[in-house]
């Protein structure tokens, strides 16, 4: 309705000049307003994306334009043990970290949704791991899990859980290192999930729980049949973002292990950096990065449908 009114006023001035018309014409006006954002996104996002796709089919190296080699890069990658290992670890990393983050995040959100003293304060403290730059907290984990001087080892020895003569080789043992980076990723991701789910929980009216309880619902039934259905849309979105960012994580791994020991903790992003930038094989690096796209598309489709359910920004208010 309001829209129609604006359209009428736009049409009102009798015989406008071309310039006048350009100034009021919605489509042109829209274009002018969109221009800065579009310029950035086209120059530094769409164009590189296309170029990355092209480069993945070439043998480009640093300082040399590549020749088109078709699917050669991908053929090599399939036979490359390090790549396959990175692919598998990326999937395991994403899966384990996302599931645990979600479980603990939801649990923490439910805890924070109780009637607590200093609620606002606790909530802001919980968010701190999320605020602090990932690299800087990764450096702290690097030190906490130092092979020789780990404070965790010290604690375990003190509690009598570990023999003093046999320290755990946290960062030197492939499996241990994998566990440590997954742990660090979970640590960092929990606040985001907890706080967003908490915001969702707070929109659920307490009277629903009262009604359910009067009907004899247990705590679990309260959660299963009241909280969970109402939270589903927000869970879908939060988890999509969580999965997306976990899958493409780079900085945590690079700061803590650089993919080592013996390439055990390489994610696809770090392997792509190592091959493409450090190794100079831009084409191969691009091919590794492009291999992430199918997985990302899956995540995006998931989020698209998650958002559709909630009439997101674009969909609503179309009169």
């Amino acid at each position: 309705m309001a829209d129609a009114a604006i359209a009428r006023t736009n049409a009102a001035p009798g015989e406008p000049s071309t310039w006048e018309r350009l100034k009021v014409n919605r489509n042109w006006l829209g274009l002018w307003f969109m221009l800065p954002a579009m310029a950035f996104l086209v120059l530094f996002l769409v164009y590189p994306l296309g170029k990355g796709l092209w480069m993945s089919f070439t043998d480009a190296r640093i300082g040399r334009e590549g020749r088109f080699v078709g699917l050669e890069n991908f053929e090599w990658l399939i036979e490359d043990r390090d790549f396959v290992r990175a692919l598998i670890f990326t999937i395991v990393f994403t899966f384990v970290a996302s599931v645990v983050k979600f479980a603990i995040g939801l649990y923490l959100a439910l805890l924070l949704n109780n009637n607590l003293p200093f609620k606002a304060f606790i909530r802001s403290v919980v968010l701190i791991p999320f605020i602090v730059p990932t690299v800087l907290s990764a450096v702290a984990f690097w030190w906490i899990f130092d092979t020789q001087f780990s404070v965790i080892t010290w604690g375990l020895v003190k509690m009598g859980l570990l023999d003093r003569g046999s320290p755990i080789n946290w960062m030197g043992d492939p499996f241990m290192a994998q566990c440590v980076v997954i742990f660090a990723n979970i640590w960092r991701g929990i606040p985001f999930i907890a706080i967003t789910l908490l915001a969702g929980l707070q929109t659920v009216s307490p009277s629903l729980y009262e009604a359910a309880t009067l009907d004899g619902a247990t705590k679990w039934q309260n959660f299963r049949y009241v909280t969970y259905p109402l939270l589903t849309p927000i869970i879908a979105v939060v988890m999509t973002f969580s999965v997306l960012f976990t899958f493409t994580d780079f900085q945590l791994i690079w700061a803590m292990t650089r993919g080592g020991p013996v390439n055990a903790t390489h994610l696809m992003a770090t392997l792509s950096y190592q091959r493409g930038i450090l190794g100079g094989n831009l084409g191969e690096g691009a091919a590794i990065a492009i291999s992430m796209v199918p997985f990302l598309l899956a995540a995006i489709l998931f989020s698209w449908f998650g958002l559709q359910r909630r009439k997101w920004q674009q969909g609503e208010n179309n009169d």
């Binding site: 309001a2 009114a5 006023t9 919605r26 042109w28 006006l29 829209g30 307003f33 969109m34 800065p36 954002a37 950035f40 996104l41 164009y47 590189p48 994306l49 170029k51 480069m55 480009a60 923490l108 109780n114 607590l116 606002a120 802001s124 403290v125 919980v126 701190i128 791991p129 605020i131 602090v132 730059p133 990932t134 690299v135 800087l136 450096v139 702290a140 030190w143 001087f149 706080i195 967003t196 908490l198 915001a199 707070q202 929109t203 307490p206 927000i234 780079f250 900085q251 690079w254 700061a255 992003a269 792509s272 950096y273 930038i277 691009a286 990065a289 492009i290 909630r310 920004q313 208010n317």
Partner: protein, 305 residues
Amino acid sequence: MTATTSAPKAMPAPSVAKDDHSEGMSYLESLPRKTVTVYIPLIIIMVVLLFPFYWMFITAIKPDQDLLDLHGGNPLWVAEPTFRHFYKLLFESNYPTWLWNTMLVAVCATFLSIVASVLAAYAITRIRYKGAQTVGGLIFLAYLVPPSILFIPLSTIIHVYGLFDTPFALILTYPTILIPFCTWLLMGYFKTIPYELEECALIDGASRWQIMVKIIIPLAVPGLISAFIFAFTLCWNEFIYALTFISSNPNKTVPTAIVSEFVDGDVFRWGSLMAGALVGSLPLVILYAFFVEHYVSAMTGAVKE
């Protein structure tokens, strides 16, 4: 007008709704029971979440000889705190330069992104030109393109544009991460502003530009603050572009410098490293302390909307 009823929730929800639970059914829970089911797990989680910061802080103020000595005395405590690591960091290293670089890049990139986002968000929500919906959807998709698949082609493009190893490489590439986010956030805010205001101004002969600058922007200040804080944090945090596009020591940003410049061969200078990590986190923590509500609403708003 569905927007005016649903969108404002993004903003006040965390602060308003928390009072709802002051009554509810909490009287059904006895204190001992609540201690076991709520307080103890909460304390355990908080301790785990905060321990790394404590350990960073303790390490940063420990004298060097105590750092590598886990067995004499308690490593969780410092008998003789020293500020030598901080002193070395601030006066005997390039750290101030790195801080300055990070600040410069973050402020410029955030500013550029917010200007572009305000214009874009206004156009999408209010001018509603042909294809506005599609563009809105595309911007959402751009938010889902991660830097880790773009950095290789971008690095060649940065070379071609002649931006390699300059702050401009970062100032111009960060907006691609920030614009989608800020636009998305601001679209939600702009929708909460009644159309009637705009109609009146149009009838009085105001141009779109005047309407945006004089009516929409002042009313969307909370949204702008949220966008600013979030964008600034993302810039400060960014690592992969900074690592790829910047090569010389004095041009580095804090995150990249920290991981590469504090290791002498095999010797890790843990004290300085931890001091550097703490100081590097400080600006964000201060910013955050002042604007927690905005921060939380930006984060939840971005997901909920």
